[in-house]
């Protein structure tokens, strides 16, 4: 490996949770590092830092991504939704409420990633079957729950959506 | 009177017996009286003023928090067992 060279600071402009903002990042920051250490959105969790656990799942320009696999510099001009942007001033998102009602979390560290991923699922498939939920969430690891109550919560949240629609 | 279960590897101190009955209202008295019945056994169980750090004495199957001060009811069973820890479930 070559000797470490100092890296540059860069300014990145992006819309984060509906707020346009500019933030200072290191040129080698991942989006995960920038969100957590530079912006303070620590609801985005680091579980593995190589795209295998889904704890850092965010929505980038409408697509689900692992924030650890995106460079901060790449999000210039993009729109990002993190777990902090899921609830509104009116209250919790139906998925968040379903996770609470169904006891779909234990330690809670994977929960933000699951909720963001599940939201992206319901955005494209409002009434998924159990297998759809399991397949969609296969990129998110949970070690506490055995997934049972998480899958149930997503199905329940989808059901709520149907009733209120 | 309490019934002390002697682990296999300590039975050489107790003429091969697997159980020994001794008097005592606390674990300290039990160990002292056990040593009288099975000379040398206390030295194997204690380290300084306390039970060896890797051993535990159970009264009726339960390892208490009071060490040698633990009360021993009449007719109790005492087991000498390795001290072991749990894991955690979350």
């Amino acid at each position: 490996m070559r000797a470490a060279a100092g890296s540059r600071r860069i300014v990145v402009g992006a819309t984060i949770n509906d707020e346009p903002q500019e933030f200072l990042a290191d040129e080698r920051d991942s989006l995960l590092e920038a969100l957590r250490e530079r912006i303070g959105l620590t609801g985005v969790k680091e579980g593995c830092n190589n795209g295998n656990c889904g704890a850092c799942t965010v929505i980038l320009d409408g697509r689900l991504v692992c924030a650890c696999l995106v460079m901060a510099a790449e999000v210039e001009g993009s729109a990002i939704t993190t777990i902090e942007g899921i609830a509104s001033s009116e209250g919790l998102h139906p998925l968040q409420q379903a996770f609470l009602d169904d006891a779909a979390l234990q330690c809670g560290v994977c929960t933000p990633g699951f909720i963001v991923a599940a939201k992206a699922l319901l955005d494209v498939n409002p009434h998924p079957a159990e297998d759809d939920v399991r397949l969609w969430l296969a990129g998110n690891l949970c070690r506490c729950t055995g997934y049972d109550k998480i899958v149930q919560a997503v199905l329940d949240a989808a059901g709520d959506g149907k009733e209120s629609a | 009177m309490a019934r002390v279960f002697i682990p296999a590897t300590l039975r050489d101190r107790c003429d091969g017996r697997s159980e020994v009955e001794v008097e005592g209202a606390t674990l300290r008295q039990i160990v002292e009286n056990l040593d009288a019945a099975c000379p040398g056994i206390a030295a194997r169980i204690l380290e300084g003023e306390a039970v060896r750090p890797d051993l535990a004495l159970a009264v009726n199957g339960v390892v208490g928090a009071e060490g040698l001060l633990e009360r021993v009811p009449d007719g109790a069973e005492i087991q000498i067992m390795p001290a072991i820890a749990g894991g955690g479930a979350g």
Binding site: M1, R28, G51, L60, R63, G139 | -
Partner: protein, 290 residues
């Protein structure tokens, strides 16, 4: 991750120049799902990331009944899988575009990147080989084209020279009654590297197999086009006997290694199993019963 610079060229020519000037430390950033991990874990030496996602030829997906399918090398898997022409004519690409990583990976990962990464187990590569895909490369000397099966040269190695990068993947147009399929074997249900993978493309002449292309991955230093397996199928109607012959040819061609993801015996066996499974699915997609 070591210190890196980030560049976002606005033309193919600018990208070529950046890569050429940057030398070995300059890398093309497409989906980043492999590159960023390799760089972060310092398994490769990289000091310049050339983000090609602003380049239209690298992100576009086009279909023309005469020219076939052109997939920009940086087009993410989810866009490939959602493209109507891919869904209609190239379901084999959907097989792999929906299998590479989970949903969040598919939001970024590209088939071009998967090919360039040149992993022996890359899940995008056998399908590209089976489909007869041409890989369009831009470089300091202009454009050139390489067949997908010629592109990888060993684990993590490919034919790209200094300043070169892949612009697009061109799959030929559907040719009469044809079908293709990709399958892989992984120990879990998702989120795994293939122990073995395979893809098969079949073109039928009447009830006979006119032409067959069989590719297997993770059984050699690079994904293989197994000509003997194709030959075993071509010229005769599909039967259990020809399927088994093709599977046997795939097993024979396999030169796998023992590693933590699988054994020689297991991989060789799976090459046959997966090739047979792909043949059946490809035939079904072509509308030919087994």
């Amino acid at each position: 991750m070591q210190a890196v610079k980030y560049a976002r060229p606005s033309s193919v020519e600018e990208a070529v120049e950046l890569l050429e000037r940057g030398g070995a430390g300059a890398r093309v950033l497409a989906g980043g799902t492999d590159l960023i991990v390799l760089a972060r874990e310092r398994r490769i030496d990289v000091d310049l990331l050339v983000d090609v996602k602003a380049l239209e030829p690298l992100t576009a997906i086009r279909y023309d009944p005469a020219d076939g399918l052109t997939i920009g090398a940086a087009a993410p898997c989810y866009r490939i899988a959602a493209h109507p022409a891919v869904q209609e004519h190239y379901p084999c690409l959907i097989d792999c575009a929906t299998l590479i990583g989970g949903v969040a990976i598919q939001g970024r990962a590209s088939l071009g990147g998967n090919l360039c990464n040149a992993s022996p187990a890359g899940d995008g590569i056998p399908a590209l080989i089976a489909l007869g895909t041409a890989v369009e490369i831009a470089g300091p000397e202009g454009r050139r084209t390489v067949a997908a099966e010629q592109f990888c040269t060993g684990p993590g190695r490919n034919v790209l020279g200094s300043g070169e990068f892949v612009v697009a993947l061109r799959a030929p147009p559907p040719d009469g009654r044809a079908g293709a399929a990709f399958r892989r074997f992984i120990p879990r249900g998702e989120m795994d590297i293939a122990v073995t993978n395979a893809a098969v493309h079949l073109r039928f002449d009447g009830d006979r197999v006119g032409d067959a292309r069989v590719a297997v991955g993770a059984v050699a230093p690079r994904p293989l086009l197994v000509a003997e397996a194709g030959a075993a199928l071509a010229g005769a109607p599909l039967s259990e006997a020809t399927i088994e012959k093709a599977a046997a040819a795939a097993r024979a061609a396999a030169r796998p290694i023992d590693d933590m993801r699988g054994t020689v015996k297991q991989r060789r066996h799976l090459a046959g199993v997966l090739v047979a499974r792909c043949i059946r699915i490809a035939a079904e997609r072509a509308g030919v019963g087994p």
